[in-house]
């Protein structure tokens, strides 16, 4: 049975992503665990980081798309709250059809919360909710960016580890 080689360690990352251990002496590591299990586990760790990176990239795209929508909705509700008369709008009926509608003064608006749920809120509450959503989305985007930067470092260190071990095995084989 192969033993688990300590290739990663807990890090200071707020999302608890482990960081890669950088080995000073590759030779000792190869001698202790054997080149093949070492390379295999290094590769596994590397793929895990890559996979996580792809995941975070995807969620970053989603967040980036949501942000302008929340900002627009917030502005609209604030405008609706401030205006005293009914307003006329052009809205999208379907992909290529738009039509005019008039919106009378209402005390409340309806927000689509997702998953077939829509709730009606008075202006104040809607503004609060949208502000909170906006803040959450912005901080989620920030932490995703932070994680991506951290992951990039770990991926580079993993690649360095992999090539050092590989080169060491090649050299030691040539030496024999």
């Amino acid at each position: 049975m192969s033993q688990t080689i300590p290739l990663s360690q807990p890090s200071s990352n707020p999302r608890k992503i482990p960081s890669v251990v950088f080995f000073e002496h590759v030779g000792e590591l190869v001698a202790q665990y054997g080149a093949d299990p070492l390379l295999k586990q290094l590769n596994e760790l590397y793929s895990k980081y890559k996979f996580m990176e792809a995941q975070l990239q995807r969620s970053k795209q989603v967040l980036k798309a949501k942000l302008p929508d929340i900002t627009n909705a917030l502005e609209m509700v604030e405008y609706l709250q401030s205006t005293q008369e009914e307003i006329k709008v052009d809205f999208q009926l379907s992909d290529c059809i738009w039509t005019k509608a008039e919106i009378p003064q209402t005390p409340s608006v309806a927000l689509w919360l997702g998953a077939n749920v829509m709730l009606e809120y008075p202006h104040e509450e809607a503004i609060d909710l949208l502000r909170k959503n906006l803040a959450n989305a912005e901080s989620a985007l920030e932490s995703t960016d932070e994680d991506l930067k951290f992951l990039k470092e770990q991926i580079t260190t993993s690649e360095v580890n992999l090539s050092r071990v590989y080169n060491y095995t090649v050299i030691s084989r040539q030496g024999k």
Partner: protein, 139 residues
């Protein structure tokens, strides 16, 4: 093209080319079908509009109760960024025309796809024959 004169390697290249073409055409077909569905949905929306109170979408997640001012007047996007005011009948007719044009293109593409697939089968058949001949000559 004289397929019989090509060796298995060249046939392989022809096969790959054909595979790519079929994939591209199938994608275009799917896109056209998607567009047809959208126009169909637009038509249905047009027919269901009247003067009742509706929830007007102001953004993708914000809706407000309101009323359509003129259920007979619509703005149709006839191209990227070009909008024309049309009556309900005209808009519906526009959607139908667009749908028909797209479906005609879909037919053309599906004919091309079938043609390429038949060609692909032919190439694979000849490849098989060549490989068999080559193996037979080795024995």
């Amino acid at each position: 093209m004289e397929l019989e004169s090509l060796n298995p390697q060249q046939l392989g290249i022809v096969k790959e080319q054909l595979d790519e073409e079929v994939e591209g055409l199938t994608n275009s077909f799917a896109n056209l079908r998607h567009a047809v569905t959208k126009y169909k949905a637009s038509k249905i929306a047009l027919e269901n509009i009247d003067q009742r109170e509706i929830l007007v979408p102001l953004t993708a997640s914000l809706y407000v109760p309101g009323r359509i001012i003129n259920p007979n007047q619509f703005m149709v996007e006839i191209g990227t960024g070009y909008y024309v005011e049309k009556t309900r009948a005209q808009s519906s007719e526009f959607c139908t025309r667009k749908m028909n044009m797209l479906m005609e293109n879909m037919d053309k593409i599906s004919k091309m796809i079938n043609q390429k697939k038949r060609y692909l089968d032919l190439v694979q058949e000849i490849m098989r024959k060549k490989i068999q001949e080559f193996q037979a000559s080795q024995r």
